[in-house]
């Protein structure tokens, strides 16, 4: 494997780049390096931000021995093995279609499928959480079946509700709160990926896996109530 590139981000950060594409092996190395940096916590470290293909390391420029940090990162990255998918796999209940997923029928029509087939395809994949970003708890998922990959909407919506299960291009995602979006809404989950008053405030982490479980609208109210009371509602399941 070629050595990762170390890119300067001003005097207080750098990015270690393992590749330029969305790839589970690359993301696995990002997460493996993240584990090592966090375990060793070199002097001056402020925080690390793992993304799809690189990890950004933020540090105090005055308290950090930069050459030592580079040496440490190069050593750590040299023989790194991609982190295997972590033990956590989450099952997330979703009500598809209707008022919960207003674009389900349109997405089905675009691909010459029935809405039921779209639900079937969307809920039978195992997704990888590549990145929590953009907003607190916004969950970027890889693993969307190409048969339902749908380019983004021409006209983004100013506001979609919290818990919206959506797809954009070959990506899938979960909205952590009401937010603007140009993706297609397939359904909605009562799960709060982020709830500031709950412990833990964030349910998922990059590297986790996730599956969707279609549920009837009749179960929405009870699950929504539980989620508002601080229940995770998402269940940890065995892979």
């Amino acid at each position: 494997m070629t050595a990762p590139r170390i890119l300067p981000c001003g005097d207080s950060a750098l990015t270690v780049e393992f590749g330029q594409t969305i790839d589970p092996a690359i993301n696995g190395m990002v997460l493996a390096l993240d584990d090592i940096i966090r375990a060793r916590a070199p002097a001056g470290l402020i925080e690390t931000v793992p993304t799809y293909r690189s990890i950004t390391v933020q540090f105090d420029p005055v308290a950090t021995d930069y050459d030592a940090l580079i040496g440490f990162l190069n050593d750590a990255a040299r023989d790194i093995a991609p982190r295997e998918a972590v033990g956590r796999r989450w099952r997330v209940p979703v009500v598809y279609g209707g008022e919960y997923g207003s674009d389900l029928e349109e997405v089905a029509e675009i691909h010459g499928l029935t809405p039921h087939q779209v639900i079937e395809i969307h809920s039978s994949a195992v997704y990888r959480i590549y990145l929590i970003g953009f907003l607190p708890g916004f969950t970027y998922l890889g693993g969307l079946d190409k048969r339902i990959a749908t380019s983004r909407r021409l006209h983004p919506r100013a506001k979609i509700p919290s818990g919206t299960i959506m797809i954009g291009g070959e990506q899938a995602g979960i909205a952590p709160m009401d937010m603007p979006s140009g993706w297609h809404n397939l359904g909605r989950t009562p799960v709060r990926t982020y709830a500031p008053e709950r412990d833990p405030a964030f349910l998922f982490a990059a590297g986790d896996e996730l599956v969707f479980e279609p549920i009837d609208a009749s179960r929405w109210e009870a699950l929504e109530k539980a989620a508002l009371a601080g229940e995770p509602v998402a269940e940890e399941v065995r892979p």
Binding site: C9, D11, E47, Y52, T56, I132, G133, F134, P196
Partner: protein, 344 residues
Amino acid sequence: MTDLVVKSCGPMTTLQDRGRLGYQRFGVSPSGAMDRRALAMANVLVGNPPDTGAIEFMNLGGAFTAEGGDLRVALAGAGCSLSVDGTAAAPQTSVLLKEGQSLEVGHARSGTFAYLAVAGGLAVEPQLGSLSFHLRSRLGGLNGTPLKAGDRLPCRAGAEGGEPMQLALSLPEETGPIRVMLGPQDDYFTPETIRLLQESEFTISSQADRMGFQLTGPRLEHAKGFNIVSDGIVDGHIQVPGSGQPIVLMRDRQTAGGYPKIATVISADLGRFAQLRPGTAVRFKAVGRDEAVAAARQLKDWIAALPGSLTPVRFNLTTEHLLSRNLIGGMVNGLAPAASDQAS
């Protein structure tokens, strides 16, 4: 318990401190004071650690009152006036706001961001370790909102503070180009574009807020497209979208983004850059790591030296104070406004 009560304020009057660190991996923007130098000055004036949470004003000022006790406060940053019951306070000085008195912060006559600190700090519950308000995620501040008329900010015990103090050190007067370090994606641009970035004049556009400052100027052409797979973002990144018009990402930036970043404003110059108003011309100069780190060290030393530059206000020339000290005899009209009351 003493409350600082908001009577009126501009729409982006917020609480800010050092920022919300440690949660970027969950998509949480760090936020924090746009000008940490000014935040430090206001805090040190009232005896607080430099990063203590304070009220950040953006362009517009506000009016406040103290309820339940007296408050020692100080203002620093953008050129805003500060007055108590209509009497102007000298700049770089902490003032006592007595219970029921009215405190007025004027709009910014120079710069953009000003900070009002209260002795002992605000007794507002931090969210994820910080008071800093972030608009898009509705985190921080009072219940995830900017300040508005009627809000009550509880203050910690001892908020009446000690003697009035003044700071000898003022904001460093720097006028040169804003210094940047090239990267992380300078290889997405031609050498000609890198030259343009350093030799051209840019203007701060009206689209400048806590998230980012959009600049106008010569078009910065990409050498190999502008679509990259999103990677990490830091304060001061200069990203160049397809339009070729750069955006400097500020404290409320996203945690990850998908445009190539040609360069990064060095940490020591970010506060100065934040105070540049829309319509202001700005130039950039690429420097190496050594110069950037030396500047960061200089700024850290400057903040560390602030408490040592505090001196008590020896002559608090309010009529009330003069009369209480019995410093003047019958030949002088002790009720005439003192010189300092008319200043600034």
